[in-house]
Symmetry: none
Amino acid sequence: MEKRRLDCVGLPPGWKREEVVRKSGLSAGKTDVYYISPDGKKIRSKPQLARQLGEQFDLSAFDFRSGRINHSQLRKRMRHDSSLVLPIRQTASIFKQPVTVIHRQESKTKSELKHGPQDPPKQLFWEKRLQGIQACDSQEEVIKALDLPRNVQGVGPELTTENILQSISAALHISSSPVVGQGNNRATVAKNPGVNIDVYQPHIQQVIVSEDDIRRQEVKVIEARRKLQDAIKGIM
Amino acid sequence: MEKRRLDCVGLPPGWKREEVVRKSGLSAGKTDVYYISPDGKKIRSKPQLARQLGEQFDLSAFDFRSGRINHSQLRKRMRHDSSLVLPIRQTASIFKQPVTVIHRQESKTKSELKHGPQDPPKQLFWEKRLQGIQACDSQEEVIKALDLPRNVQGVGPELTTENILQSISAALHISSSPVVGQGNNRATVAKNPGVNIDVYQPHIQQVIVSEDDIRRQEVKVIEARRKLQDAIKGIM
DNA sequence: CGGAGTGGGCTT
DNA sequence: AAGCCCACTCCG
């Protein structure tokens, strides 16, 4: 029998993946997938793989059948919990990676908490968990990240451009109220993020938009619309 | 595991029904129902059962989960179509049974039919399809049919007490106008049911209600109310 | 490869 | 939201 044994992207080095096609019976034509551990042991299911690898590995996003990290799985989970669930960095491999958990300062007493429906506490800087995850198009080409305009400035500890973009995207996606940035300035926030950060706003300073900015944007939009019209005329 | 495999009332002999409770996972506690065909094949859904049994069986009123003929299904259909749908006898099994179809005499021409919204033709004596179906209480004890008062007399061919009761029940249930019985007498109807029967009325002669009848009924009601009051006092 | 047992899309 | 179906997983 011809078998394809290949190193597997989502797994530690040394692991091989194998596909076997069923040749007869009711399930003829279906394939069974299994994995060969570095020491030659045959693994036939995801639970078995998890047992073999141990606690250090997070297989929640690993698709056993395809052998890849399943991004649609990730999206499914996110829908249920907009602030994500676990303080575990989301990556494109199954290695669990340490992440600093920053607890929000709890100023409320228990009796105060009893009144009204309680929102779960929002983690500060949770967008950092998205670090290293990149969008790609249908051909799996990674889409280049945007550059930030000069007047958009991060507020918070060690924020990369990537972090800031993710923070803004998340705010636009999740929030139903205006996205305006942090009211407090950088120095204040640095002193005590737990108190001085507005968790409902992205980690950027408030951006001053001048009349000139608005006018320039209007010109751009009109320009873009004209180009689109021309393009459509060219097609029809 | 302990399984209850039982012969199933609504199905041909030899079929067994089985209930399995889900023990783990997100759906723990839910039950799955399946059926074992006489040759041991496991059937897991109603469409699959229909495929297995073939055209000879009418599962429209069969409730897969409970394994019974579903009378509430029947009622649901009646709401949409007060004269029922198919010229198939409704029984307590899923076997399709032959039934004599009586077409209503069509005196209208096609051009006449074009005007206004058309009611579907009402079948005469369709209540006969209900023959053999009996009400039962929650302990599955069959509820004894009522006796008819002497002044309630059937009008129509070969009507049993059962037919008449069903006809009256159906009229009370379906009709929004007064239920008064047939205007024409028995002899006239017997001559030509298609013409002389009022399909919107039950198959009974009009009942003469005298002043005396009314007075007797009033006494009965007052008596019943007093007894109910006494019973309630006894409880509280 | 079969089949019990569960997940999850789709319908009501 | 609840339930029905189906397809899949995982282990014998």
